[in-house]
Amino acid sequence: MDTLTHILATGLRTILDVLPIVVILLGFQVLVIRRMPPHPKRMAIGFLYVLIGLTLFLVGLEQALFPIGETMASQLTAPAFIGTPAEGGAVSVNWRDYVWVYVFAFTIGLSTTVAEPSLIAVALKAQEISGGALNAFALRMAVALGVAVGVAIGAYRIVSGFPLPYFILVGYVIVILQTLWSSRSIIPLAYDSGGVTTSTVTVPVVAALGLGLASTIPDRSPLIDGFGLIAFASVFPIISVLGYAKIAEILQNRRTARTRQEAYQHEQSLDKGNVS
C-alpha cells in the first residue's frame, strides 16, 4: 500500500514536471504548425510510456538504491571509518586516508552514468545518425569513464581543499587543446555529453557524497565545498569522449594504412610475376 501511494505521488510529480513541456508542444502544434503530425496516437502512447517508465524508475531508485547509496556516502566519509581522531583541535587531514572514498566516487560515477536514461537516449541517437559508425555502448562507456574520473578528482579536491576554479580551468584548457586536434564531426556530441551525464541517477548519490565529505572534514563548509562534484562530472566526459574518438580514429587509420600496404605489396608481387 505504501509503495502504491509512493508510485502515485511520484507519478503526479513527474506529470507536473512535464506539464510545461506538454503545454508548449501542444500550443505550438495547434497555434503555429496547425497540421496533424504523422501517427499522433503512437506518439501519445510513447509519451505515456515515457511518463510511466520514468515514474517506475524513480520510485524504484528511491526505494532500492538511493537510501543505501546516500547512507554509504556519509558512512565512508565519517571519521569513525576513516580512522582520524574526531575530537576537535588541530586535526590534520591526510588525503591518503580517503582511498575508499575515491574508489567509491570512481565506481559510483561509472555505474550511475551507465544507467542514466538521458545518456542512453543521446547515445542511441548518435548511433542512428552516424549510421552505426559510432557505437552507442562504447560512447556510453567513454562518458561513464569521464564521469568516474571527474567525481574521483572532485572528491580529492574536497579532501585537499584546493579551490574549484583551478581544476575546472585546467579541464577547460585540456578540452580546448583536444578540440583543436579533433575531427569536426565528434566535437558537438562530445560537448553535449558533458551536460547529459548528470541527471536522475547520478546527481542524488554524487551530491550526497559531496555533502558528506564536506561536512565531516574539518575546515570544510558543506555549503561552499559540498558543491562542485557535478561540475567535475560535466567537464571530464568531454575530455574522455574526445579522447575515445581520437583513439578510435588512430586505430582506424592504422588499419586502413595496413590494408593499403598489403594491397600495394600484393600488387607489386603481381607485377613482378608479370615481368618474369
Binding site: 501519445a44 515515457v50 517506475l56 532500492a64 543505501i68 554509504m72 537516449a121 564531426s185
Partner: protein, 257 residues
C-alpha cells in the same frame, strides 16, 4: 521523417513488440547491474553491514528495470518523433520568429519546473544568507531562490536560441563554446566566492531526462531538414549550450544581487 519509413518501422515494431520488449528488459538489467554490484560490494565487503530491507530493495530493482525499459520504448515511439516532427514542421514553415519562440519556450519551460533546479536554488539561498549577501529570513531567501530559478530558466532559453541560430547558420560549435568557457573563467574572478560552486553545478542540473531527448531531437531534426546541414556536425550541441549559459548567468546573478 518520411512517413513511409516510419510506417514500416511501426508495423515491424508491432509484430516484434514482445520480443523487442524482452530485449529492452535484458538491456536494462545489464545497465543497472554495475550500480547494484558497486553498492553491494561497499555494503558487504568495505562497510561490512547487512543489506537493510532486502525484500524492498529487490522490489525496487524490478521497478527500476521495468521503468527503464518502458522509458526507452517510449523514447523511440514518442519523444524522438515528437521533437523531430516539431523541428521539421517549424523548418518548413520558414518563420524564424516561430522557431526562435519555440526554442526559447522549450528551454525556459522545461527548466523552470525542474525539481533538481528548485532544490539547488533553495540551497543557494541558504549559502547566500550564511555569507551575508541577503537577509537571514525566509522571505529574503525565497525571493533569492525564485530569482535564481528564473535566471537559470532564462539562460537555458537563451542557450537554445543561440544553439538553434548556430544550426541555421552552420557555425562550428566549438568557437561559441570556447568563447563561453572564457566568459566563465573571466567571471569567476569577479563573482562572489560562495556562488561559484553553485554556478558551476547549475550547468549540470538543468538538463533533465525528458528535456535531453526532446532537445536532441530538435537539433537533429533541424539539421536534417535544412539543406547543407549535417545532423552529426550541426545537429548536436544544443545541450552543450544549455549547460554552459547557466554558469555565466548564475555568476552574474551573484554579482548583481
Amino acid at each position: 521523417m518520411p512517413s513511409a519509413l516510419s510506417d514500416r518501422l511501426w508495423r515491424v515494431e508491432m509484430s516484434k513488440s514482445l520480443k523487442g520488449f524482452l530485449s529492452l528488459i535484458t538491456n536494462a538489467v545489464r545497465d543497472l547491474a554495475p550500480i547494484v554490484m558497486v553498492i553491494a560490494f561497499f555494503q558487504i565487503v568495505i562497510l561490512q553491514q547487512p543489506f537493510p530491507n532486502l525484500g524492498n530493495v529487490i522490489v525496487g530493482l524490478i521497478f527500476v528495470v521495468l521503468g527503464l525499459a518502458l522509458f526507452i520504448q517510449g523514447l523511440e515511439m514518442g519523444l524522438f518523433p515528437i521533437g523531430e516532427n516539431m523541428a521539421d514542421a517549424l523548418a518548413r514553415k520558414g518563420s524564424l520568429t516561430a522557431l526562435m519562440g519555440f526554442s526559447f519556450l522549450l528551454g525556459f519551460g522545461t527548466t523552470v519546473a525542474e525539481p533538481a533546479l528548485i532544490a539547488v536554488a533553495a540551497e543557494a539561498a541558504d549559502v547566500a544568507s550564511v555569507a551575508g549577501a541577503i537577509d537571514d529570513n525566509p522571505a529574503a531567501r525565497s525571493d533569492y531562490a525564485f530569482g535564481l530559478r528564473m535566471t537559470v530558466a532564462l539562460s537555458v532559453g537563451i542557450a537554445l536560441i543561440i544553439g538553434v541560430f548556430r544550426i541555421l547558420k552552420g557555425w562550428p560549435v566549438h568557437y561559441l563554446i570556447i568563447g563561453g568557457y572564457i566568459m566563465v573563467v573571466v567571471m569567476t574572478f569577479f563573482a562572489p566566492e560562495e556562488i561559484i560552486g553553485i554556478a558551476y553545478d547549475s550547468g549540470g542540473v538543468t538538463t533533465s531526462t525528458i528535456t535531453v531527448p526532446l532537445v536532441t531531437a530538435l537539433g537533429v531534426g533541424l539539421a536534417s531538414a535544412i539543406r547543407g546541414r549535417n545532423p552529426m556536425v550541426d545537429g548536436f550541441g544544443l545541450i552543450a549550450f544549455a549547460s554552459l549559459t547557466p554558469m555565466i548567468f548564475v555568476m552574474m546573478y551573484g554579482m548583481v544581487y
